[in-house]
């Protein structure tokens, strides 16, 4: 077998190996270089996989040469290749940022542990995405969750500990539910392979345990993806984690959970009769709308910018869930495009906020007054990301909202179009609060000497800001892959 054939397993193994090595070296520079090399390699591999999938369709890789239903299968298709590229891409951009960022926020003697945890978290997220095995998915979910609890707890703010603890409890409940769901499905079907499970469920006659499995999986994954009203762990976790961690988790963790939900809903249950008669769409719709409006409104009243944008994340997840609730190709395209676009937007936003934090010492609205004058470049970047959150044409956010609106129109639901636009106006308000503080108030006297962020912080942030704009203009990668993935999930041949 050639090297190229082993790419699927290398995608996970490379960052996985870098973690223990980083611990063994016990040196922060060595650990940094190792994990950096690991994550860049992972990004390169994901690009190769994406190209390969585009050329020749689904890649199936049997771990240890055990064929699919018995052994663990790694499966790369249109959807997972896109999410792999997103996760490893964000990881590759955030890691260099960590080096300049954690110096201020984390004790130097624990830096090598930070990098190891980061590598593990990346491994877990990539593993969830690439695996075709239900139990393996749970294992990777635990790897990513446990490492992210540690990463969040490393925050300088003491409240990070409580936030991390709450996330730990909630995350564990979620993981337990997922493993219960997987267990029930295993008992009923006798297989752990997701694709195989989907086939066997189709001619299942006794429903009850399968329904229970679906309920457990839905609630468990909804918890991990912070679907309203199960989002309560998220705002504090994002707000008090180290800047780099906020950015990385905001961009990837919830998105990978969305991926897992799509997998279970459409690859496992999608073809079954029970799934078709459930009121899943209506429930999803209600929760999505509630999330969009309640979380946006809460965001308007927040005074800590990280918390403000964390609530905005909950609202944006509402849009993602809204796309799922349409259960149509356009709707899923919107979901997947928004998954990518929001990841890039929120990632860059949190990176920029980290830069503000480094210079101004905090990100409460009272402290960042007049930041437009002392840090014009960074502030401008935040405004650009804010425009993308609102969905202004020319930014990534517009593209996803456009597809959401198209999907709503396809269903003939005008009132939803109206609600989508209305919720964008709420985003205008909370972005405006930042703009007003940043540009229309004088800086605090003690912060007049603050300077622009160092290049180590600025360059990674601006790479993602650039992507936010780029995906708003050239949509061939995002919309192209998303449409292919949506077609695949719904079994439509374009």
């Amino acid at each position: 077998m050639s090297f190229a054939e082993h790419l699927p397993v290398l995608q996970v193994v490379v960052p996985l190996v870098s973690a223990p090595l980083a611990v063994l070296f016990r040196d922060r520079l060595a650990a940094f270089l190792l994990v950096l090399a690991g994550s860049w390699a992972a990004f390169a591999i994901s690009i190769l996989l994406w190209l390969q999938v585009r050329e020749s369709g689904i890649i199936s890789y049997a771990i240890g040469s055990w064929p699919a239903p018995w052994g663990i299968e790694y499966r790369v298709d249109a959807l997972s290749s896109l999410v792999l590229m997103l996760v490893s891409g964000v990881g590759a951009v955030v890691l260099p940022y960590c080096r300049s960022s954690i110096v201020r926020e984390i004790r130097p003697d624990t830096h090598y542990l930070f990098y190891a945890m980061f590598a593990l978290c990346l491994t877990g997220l990539l593993g969830i995405t690439i695996t075709g095995d239900a139990f393996n998915l749970f294992v990777f979910l635990e790897i990513s969750s446990l490492s992210s609890y540690v990463l969040i707890a490393l925050g300088k703010d003491r409240r990070a500990l409580v936030a991390s603890y709450q996330y730990l409890i909630m995350g564990t409940i979620g993981a337990t539910f997922i493993v219960i769901g997987v267990g029930l499905l295993y008992v009923k079907t006798g297989t752990l392979n997701l694709a195989d499970m989907g086939v066997r469920l189709q001619d299942m006659t006794s429903h009850r345990p399968v329904l229970a499995a679906l309920a457990f999986l839905t609630v468990g994954i909804s918890l991990k993806l912070a679907l309203f009203p199960l989002h309560q762990w998220l705002p504090n976790a994002y707000a008090y984690a180290p800047s780099a961690v906020s950015a990385f988790l905001a961009a990837t963790a919830t998105k990978v959970s969305v991926y897992a939900l799509l997998r279970f809903y459409f690859s496992v249950f999608g073809e079954t009769a029970i799934f078709k008669q459930l009121p899943m769409e209506d429930l999803m719709l209600v929760l999505a709308l509630a999330g969009m409006f309640v979380a946006s409104t809460v965001a308007i009243f927040q005074n800590n910018l990280k918390r403000l944008f964390a609530y905005s994340s909950v609202a944006q997840i509402g849009y993602i869930a809204l796309g799922i609730s349409f259960d149509s190709v356009t709707g899923l395209t919107a979901t997947i495009v928004h998954l990518v676009n929001h990841a890039v937007t929120k990632g860059s936003l949190f990176l920029l906020l980290g830069a503000v934090m480094a210079s101004m010492g905090g990100v409460t609205l009272a402290r960042v007054q007049g930041v437009g004058r002392v840090m014009p470049v960074t502030t401008f970047g935040i405004v650009l990301c804010g425009l993308s959150l609102i969905g202004v044409p020319g930014t990534a956010g517009f593209v996803s909202k456009w597809y959401l609106i198209l999907a709503a129109l396809e269903k003939g639901q005008w009132w939803l179009v109206f609600l989508i636009v209305l919720s964008s106006l709420l985003a205008v308000v909370y972005v405006w609060r930042f703009v007003e503080a940043a540009y229309f108030r004088a800086p605090r006297a003690d912060l007049l000497q603050a300077r622009e962020a160092s290049l180590g912080l600025a360059i990674p942030a601006w790479i993602l800001v650039g992507a936010t704009i780029w995906f708003g203009v050239d949509t061939s990668v995002t919309v192209g892959s998303a449409a292919a993935a949506a077609n695949m999930l719904l079994g439509v041949t374009p």
Partner: protein, 559 residues
């Protein structure tokens, strides 16, 4: 590759605030002139094409109508820039240039998405222009202004999305308001045109800008809306009646008003009404008339607001009752103001006459008797509120004791350029007619036209001054006129208020009360200490998870 004229101004405006003073002043006049040159380099048909999502965008497409509007927009930006050279704010003029560039962007847009993008940029630019006046009232006015325009933008966007979804094409072509989407587009555009029931944003916001800001504001937003209507909805009959309403709304409220720039702001609504009527009639003559009137109107309305701005710049006062007798010390400003006033009243040998008479003629040709009569009556009304009222109260009437000098040379030069254009276009209309979208077969200076118009104007003027003389003998002028628009105005408004504003005010009150109560509820639940925003104990989070699980299980059990 052809240069996009709008981008010269839009991108230039982003650099402007950072330039040293001298370079900035040169650029403020140079950039619009460069844009004007670029406008004439754009060939007919699509010049730029981009692929975005599944659509082909045409950000740059030229034709006669486009060039007409882009020409006057860039000319306006140049002369406005000259007028505003003494403006101290570093923000206002760059914002105005950004605003002008966005308006030109709309004019060159060949597809609806580009229209929308520049439409929103225009809203941002104009809000900044108002805001940069730098005081509290301007700030709150700019926020109200932005709220209305964001609302208009949302309506427009919803309409465009629906239109594109239904037809599959983003091309900006003539539409008839048939589907709901096209109605929404029409509504979004009419909001910017200052049409009822939301006309009030215009006189509310424009007079709050600085002495130079209002000059820019008067030119672009409403005329861009006229342009979009001209291209998108020619011959929509509804527009005749919308336009007629705007004409009389403007006249009535301008007659009641005391603030000199608010009088002129109301008269913008009135003048745009004439254009909207022309678009509604929809014949070639009417559309030519609407386009020509927009061209002429930008010039004379800017001229009027420049002369009002010069007065404000020198005296700091804006109420008619505080002003008067300024012709003695501000002769240039007074003469320019009078030229603008004559032009807006479409006095023969001014630009207003050669453009507005085309719209009346078109109404006559189509045998729209009531429209023709309405337009004729409105001409007299315009003469009363803008043609006489503004110059009389500001420059003559009583001696207010103020002796301000004429404004600095740059401001005088700007006013003289536009005054010359007003008269030049009136005397030699051929170059303007050559720019119009359709071939012009019309001679404004026929005996009948000139005599009719002169009679109309002279009789309404005569009535004004005869009344003035007779009142002068018994009481002082100022008191008489105080009565005229204090008591008479109050009487009139006592009749009109329940009709026009009473209902709206009541609605506003109840909406306000509702919003207040709603705001309290929102804050209670969503505010920093509200149940939805505070950090929950871990136990109650877990409780919610259980509730969710139970809910799903029960639901699944039921099905």
């Amino acid at each position: 590759m052809i240069l996009h004229p709008a981008l010269i101004l839009v991108l230039g405006a982003l650099v402007l605030p950072w330039l040293p003073r001298a370079a900035r002043q040169a650029a403020v006049i140079g950039l619009p002139l460069a844009t004007l040159w670029a406008v004439w380099q754009v060939p007919d048909g699509a010049a730029w094409q981009l692929h975005f999502l599944d659509y082909t965008l045409t950000p740059l497409a030229g034709d006669r109508l486009t060039r007409l509007f882009a020409t006057i927009f860039s000319l306006m930006a140049a002369v406005g820039g000259l007028f505003a050279l003494k403006q101290e704010s570093r923000l206002e003029v760059p914002a105005a240039m950004f605003y002008a560039g966005s308006a030109i962007g709309v004019a060159f847009a060949g597809d609806l998405i580009t229209v929308f993008i520049f439409w929103e940029l225009m809203a941002i630019g104009s809000t900044l222009v108002i805001w940069s006046a730098g005081n509290r009232t301007a700030y709150t006015a700019s926020m109200r202004y932005m709220a209305i325009h964001l609302l208009g933008g949302v309506v427009l966007m919803a309409g465009i999305a629906g239109h594109v979804a239904a037809t599959g094409s983003v091309a900006f072509v003539p539409m008839a308001p048939e589907s709901w989407a096209q109605w929404l587009i029409l509504a979004g555009v009419l909001i910017n045109a200052g049409a009822p029931p939301l006309s009030a944003w215009l006189p509310d916001a424009y007079p709050e800008a600085s002495w130079s800001g209002t000059v820019f504001l008067s030119a672009f937003t409403t005329k861009t809306a006229v342009y979009v209507l001209l291209r998108g909805f020619p011959g929509t009959e509804l527009l005749i009646w919308v336009g007629m309403f705007m004409i009389f709304y403007g006249i009535v409220y301008a007659l009641l008003e005391n603030d000199m720039r608010r009088i002129l702001a109301y008269s913008i609504v009135n003048q745009v009404g004439f254009m909207v009527v022309g678009i509604g009639i929809g014949t070639e003559m009417a559309l030519n008339g609407a386009a020509a009137h927009a061209f002429a109107h930008i010039i004379y309305k800017a001229l009027l607001l420049m002369s009002a701005g010069a007065v404000l710049y020198r005296t700091g006062r804006r109420k008619c009752t505080d002003l008067g007798g300024l012709f003695q010390s501000m002769p240039v400003t007074a003469v320019c103001g009078i030229v603008g006033a004559l032009a807006i009243s479409s006095f023969p040998w001014t630009s207003g006459f050669v453009s507005k008479s085309m719209i009346s003629q078109a109404a006559g040709d189509q045998h729209l008797t009531f429209v023709w009569l309405g337009l004729a009556a409105a001409s007299a009304g315009v003469f009363l509120h803008a043609g006489i009222k503004f110059p009389w109260f500001v420059f003559f009437q009583k001696d207010s004791g103020l002796r301000p000098a004429d404004p600095p040379a740059s401001m005088q030069a700007a006013m003289l350029v536009f005054a010359a254009l007003c008269i030049g276009l009136g005397l030699f209309p051929a170059p303007l007619y050559a720019l119009l979208p359709f071939a012009v077969d019309y001679e404004p200076y026929s005996g009948a036209h000139v005599v009719t118009q002169l009679q109309l104007l002279l009789f309404s003027g005569l009535a004004f001054f005869v009344m003035l003389e007779s009142l002068k003998r018994t009481l002082t002028i100022s008191l008489d006129f105080d009565w005229f628009y204090r008591v008479f105005a109050r009487r009139l408004s006592e009749i009109l208020t329940p009709l026009f504003t009473g209902l709206i005010a009541a609605l506003e009150r109840s909406a306000g009360a509702l919003a207040n109560r709603g705001g309290d509820v929102l804050r209670r639940h969503h505010g920093p200490l509200g149940a939805l925003a505070r950090t929950w104990p871990t136990g109650s989070m877990a409780l919610w998870v259980t509730i969710m699980l139970l809910a799903w299980l029960v639901l699944y059990y039921l099905f």
